[in-house]
């Protein structure tokens, strides 16, 4: 127990400021954490709930989504959380080219989501199929299976790039509300 506590104390708080929105065309420095959290609450009235679906990825993109949970990015700390059911999700984060074997499961997940059904297609594969293209086994990019609001390039995209895309997408969505 003492060991655990002492490690916590020695490690301290690691969470970094959020990346700026890309409209600001800035590098990854930060916005203060609280206004961003406030922004999220203003926009959604609650936390942003994300459902992730691997539609056929190589697992590289998953690793960078998982990294968003590490203490440097601390995505839950700003009110973004990953949920287990599409019925609770504001946003669907889809990785991979859409394999034909996952096409139906992806469509069903999308259909189960409530409006506004925001969708981000993650990584070069999600954007256009990239190395896997379209074939007997792959439908290519996610937009060939379900409507996509935003794509994030990269193989895999880094955690700040993913975070920035999420923030970019929800801001205009909020303006419409």
């Amino acid at each position: 127990m003492w060991n655990t506590l002492s490690r916590m104390l020695r490690t301290g708080l690691l969470t970094e400021p959020l990346p700026k929105l890309s409209e600001a065309r800035s590098v990854v420095e930060g916005l203060p954490l609280e206004p961003m959290q406030q922004n999220l609450l203003n926009i959604l009235g609650r936390a942003l709930c994300i459902r992730h679906v691997d539609a056929g990825s190589c697992n590289g993109c998953e690793l960078e989504i998982q990294a968003l949970g590490n203490p440097y990015y601390n995505i839950e700390g700003v009110g973004i959380k990953f949920v287990a059911s599409p019925r609770h999700a504001d946003l669907l984060l889809v990785t991979g080219p859409v394999s034909v074997n996952m096409e139906e499961a992806l469509r069903r997940t999308y259909e189960a989501m409530p409006e506004p059904k925001l969708v981000i297609a993650l990584g070069d594969c999600g954007a256009c199929g990239a190395a896997f293209g379209s074939s007997y086994a792959s439908r290519g990019g996610v937009s060939n299976a379900i409507p996509v609001d935003k794509t994030v390039a990269g193989c895999p995209p880094s955690p700040p790039e993913i975070l920035r895309a999420i923030l970019d997408l929800i801001r205009p969505a909020a303006d419409e509300v």
Partner: protein, 515 residues
């Protein structure tokens, strides 16, 4: 060894490990397998090829790991009628799913009764075999989903729970069917293949000098292992020698891949056992390593680092001191966290005895890599069949006897420390040789095999060259093929809520096995 016991035709074979190849007829296919099984050889991989364009009919190959080399046994199905070959599953249970996959891709069957699709879930028509030469791989078909008959368990109070293919966390897709009484698991059946992306067919549209890029994306967490295995096969075929510097950098990257995955898993295992502290601390360490990767290798995940002939870039001048500092910090933290894990009663209570796979079951099922070592099977190619630069690194093999989640946790702790030692040693390789040798274009019909012990176990790439710098066939194999069936056994008698923890302790690849 077994190669000498037969007078069948010997075929030339290139590889980064000692490889030989024999051609056998249908009877020889089974009798060789029997001899190999008796001698303790393990089935490494199995793949089919359409050679009808070369008047050779269909071909099936099996690669076996012997104590001192790799033996590839090849059988050509040139008889009239439907192509088939005798199943190896009675001797090597791991063959079963690979044979089903070979059928889905090529329409070559066995005498097994299980004819359920493994990779084909209805995404393309039943009589279309995409890896045949006369099938256009770019053609798309509407999905006609088909029911899959899981084996059901009869009995009082037995019910079934189906999980997936979309899971609750940020993980890959697969379907798990549990037969349970109360919470206790009587039987688990896995259904995989959801992320099949047609990798084998895609390779045939690439050139020998671009295939490594696709190889790096077969399983993103093993990008170095796969791209190295691909390049090793091509380099063996073209008798290209990489500089000592390039090989040291590849090994450094491979050990970083091992470290990143082990650190991530140690954190997730803590988390899945209800100790979020573990996730916080290990995910921090993993992030530190990835950030260092980005500084010294130019990317967090090294999809583009290993290239034919060597590596894409050398380390910059600050890399050495930055890395040595990182390794010290990681080692201190990991040793400290290990004490915390070891002394945490709640954690140990969840780890011990969970998902136990005893040595004899592991051996019978053909377990390999990390999961095999955790059940007491001494198998690590860096030790058993070292290739350069592992030939001069004297890797210490880590094994455990327990075969439970706790053992798979301990192996990771041990391997992290050993990997850090290897990384330090690799940084002293400062020969200033070129980092990228020129790789000539190979003639057609040359067969080469690259085998690299990645963090999960041996990753294999079999490359067969085509005309004009093209690829006739490229088969990629992830050790998850061997180890997925282990989980079906390890879970028996445990409770369903322990499945995520047990599954994570193996952390197998879906994409790597789906292809």
């Amino acid at each position: 060894m077994a190669a000498e016991k037969t007078d069948e035709q010997q075929v030339k074979m290139f590889g980064n490990l000692a490889c030989s190849r024999i051609r056998v007829d249908r009877e020889g296919w089974i009798s060789t397998a029997e001899q190999l099984s008796e001698s303790g050889a393990r089935l490494l991989t199995l793949w089919g090829t359409d050679d009808r364009d070369q008047a050779g009919g269909f071909r099936i190959d099996a690669a076996y790991l012997l104590s001192d080399s790799v033996l590839v046994v090849e059988h050509r199905m040139v008889d009239e009628g439907e192509p088939w070959y005798p199943s190896l599953a009675g001797l090597f249970p791991v063959a079963l799913r690979m044979q089903r996959a070979a059928y889905d891709l090529l329409g070559i069957s066995t005498n097994e009764s299980d004819d359920r699709g493994w990779l084909r879930h209805g995404g393309w028509p039943q009589m279309v075999f995409p890896l045949r030469r006369d099938v256009d791989g770019s053609q798309q078909y509407p999905v006609v989903s088909q029911p899959y008959s899981f084996v059901s368990v009869e009995g009082d109070g037995v019910h079934e729970i189906s999980v997936g293919p979309v899971h609750a966390g940020t993980i890959e897709p697969g379907n798990f069917r549990f037969s349970v009484v109360g919470e206790k698991v009587l039987r688990l059946e896995e259904r995989l293949g959801y992320t099949h992306k047609g990798v084998a067919k895609l390779f045939e549209s690439l050139t020998q000098h671009t295939g490594h890029r696709l190889a790096a994306r077969v399983s993103g967490d093993s990008a170095i292992a796969f791209s190295w295995a691909y390049c090793a096969a091509l380099e063996a075929i073209t008798t290209t020698t990489c500089s000592a510097r390039a090989l040291a950098l590849r090994a450094l990257a491979l050990e970083h891949e091992r470290l990143a995955n082990h650190l991530g898993d140690l954190g997730s295992l803590g988390n899945d056992a209800g100790f979020a502290f573990g996730f916080t601390h290990f995910s921090k360490l993993k992030e530190d390593l990835l950030r260092a990767n980005s500084v010294v290798f130019g990317a967090r995940y090294l999809m583009a680092f290993v290239v034919p002939g060597g590596v894409a870039a050398d380390l910059n001048t600050e890399a050495r001191s930055l890395l040595l500092e990182l390794y010290d910090a990681l080692e201190t933290s990991v040793i400290n966290l290990r004490t915390i894990y070891d002394n945490h009663a709640g954690l140990q209570d969840r780890f011990r005895e969970a998902g136990r796979l005893d040595r004899s079951t592991a051996k019978r099922l053909g377990a390999i890599g990390l999961a095999g070592r955790a059940s007491g099977l001494a198998c690590d190619l860096r030790v058993d069949h070292p290739w350069a630069p592992y030939t001069s690194l004297a890797v210490t093999m880590m094994t455990q006897k327990g075969g439970d989640v706790a053992a798979r946790v301990q192996i990771r702790f041990d391997e992290v420390v050993e990997s850090l030692r290897l990384c330090r040693a690799l940084l002293t390789e400062n020969d200033s040789g070129v980092i990228q040798a020129t790789v000539p274009t190979a003639q057609s019909n040359q067969l080469g095999m690259g085998i690299i012990e990645g963090w999960r176990g041996p990753v294999a790439v079999v490359l067969e060259t085509g005309r004009d710098g093209g690829i006739h066939r490229c088969h990629t194999h992830d050790p998850s093929w061997q180890n997925w069936p282990l989980i079906e056994h390890a879970i028996i008698g445990d409770i369903v809520p322990d499945f995520p923890l047990i599954n994570k302790s193996f952390n197998l690849s879906y994409s790597g096995q789906d292809g």
